[in-house]
């Protein structure tokens, strides 16, 4: 009897854990969560619009030193230029809530991207953090790659050197570049997940 009660408690506890909303994260190998967000020019974009294309999601906070490492060095812009030129859709997402570090409206996002020479397809404004939470975006940057059929094929860090030091970029293995190269060549992604590193995404409390 006691055993039965224990089993029931365990089941109840698991059910509670599974039902917790924060458990909803995009999982590699499964369909990427659908979303519609407005970009910095006021134009809406849905993930479904890009079916048939490889899509990259890049979580962004311009005031975060880890983001500064990859924009200050030109590393992020180089990837954006290279892959958008080859037909990849690159969506830079800002989930910084109003009043939080890195929060941008459309005009601010456009000015920053112009100044930095950003070359994303669009900067998406996720002020309420719903899309960030649906993907389980934890850090800036946190990178996701979606294949032409809408499946998530990569989730993790931009590379394997968790630091704010630009000098680390040259020797780093860039997981995102490798994943895009593989998926655009129709190959399976060798490293499909890695440790995201950076500042925590500045969601509303």
């Amino acid at each position: 009897m006691r055993r039965l009660a224990f089993v029931l408690v365990v089941i109840a506890v698991f059910a509670a854990v599974v039902a917790a909303p924060a458990a909803a994260a995009a999982v590699v190998g499964q369909p990427a969560p659908a979303f519609t967000l407005t970009d910095s020019h006021g134009k809406p974009h849905s993930l479904a619009d890009f079916k048939g294309k490889v899509v990259v999601l890049e979580w962004w906070n311009f005031e975060c030193p880890f983001v500064g490492k990859h924009y200050g060095s030109g590393n992020m812009q180089k990837l954006q230029k290279e892959w958008t030129a080859k037909g990849v859709v690159w969506l830079t997402v800002s989930s910084s809530a109003p009043g939080k570090q890195g929060h941008v409206d459309g005009a601010k996002a456009n000015a920053l991207m112009k100044e930095k020479g950003g070359a994303s397809t669009a900067v998406l404004l996720d002020h309420d953090g719903k899309v960030g939470k649906a993907y389980g975006a934890k850090t800036t940057p946190h990178m996701f790659v979606i294949d032409t059929k809408g499946a998530l094929v990569y989730a993790g860090g931009i590379d394997d050197k968790p630091s704010t030091d630009q000098a680390d970029i040259a020797a780093a293995k860039n997981y995102v570049a490798a994943a895009i190269a593989e998926v655009t060549a129709g190959k399976p992604v060798t490293t499909a997940t890695s440790q995201p590193y950076g500042c925590g995404v500045k969601y509303a409390e």
């Binding site: 408690v9 999982v27 590193y197």
Partner: protein, 291 residues
Amino acid sequence: MSPVVRPGGLLSAFAGLALALGATRASAEGPPGRHVKASLVAETDAVRPGQPLVVGIRLEMEKGWHTYWRNPGDSGLPTRAKWALPEGFAVGELRWPYPVRFRTGPLVSYGYEHEVLLPAEIGVPAAIAEREVRIAARVDWLECQEACLPGRADVSLRLPVKALASPGPQAVLFAEARRRLPGKDPGWRFSASSAPTGLILVVRPPRGTALREAYFYAVTPRLLDYAQPQPLVREGAAHRLHLPRDPNGAPSERLAGVLVAETGSGTVAVEADVKIATGPARTSLKQERKP
């Protein structure tokens, strides 16, 4: 018990000290750590040839700011030290007092607020020609309130070489750090197994010890979902802690980390490093007791 704290939260005994030192900048080159002061301290007032020397990286944080544990959790970076030692000296790994949790929105990270000492043991050669030695380290950390800044400091200390050594002026800091250092305790037994949504850690504390609360800080990277609660269920003398898995994590054969438990006689921090069984968790105590 290590409470979940929010940045800018609890005021501890260290807060006054941290405030007093808050305006002091770390004597650093490189990126500015503006809210954390780093220094290098020794437990004793001298170096004894052939005897280990215990030193520590001391981080004093302004109120509301924190630095990170060896596994920073959802975001952040662990503090790192690059040592410069006299010839023949060799330093071990930094040791990490158990951390607290910082919750910001849906994210949880692991670290320290107010003040922490990260001790390290230095092997000392049997013969030292000099009358004084210099120990130095370049310390890199990430300091965060809501926003984060990289911090760096070059820290050093000089100690005389003597046949006898006494506790130094900072010895009390080491005593405090040791109270928070997790230990290996054979009186505590652990086993782990896979469950559909995560891992089950079975904890068997020493006889007569009951856990009121427990939290497992994973050292194994990319295994657990740090933001989820870890429900604790008691079954007789054993306790089961359900550890939700990171859905985009990496597979691991082992689970290593630190269990911080609130017992009837205070907070206990114990190291655990166990193989993860693939079958269902065994519930019978008799089956798991080894002769």
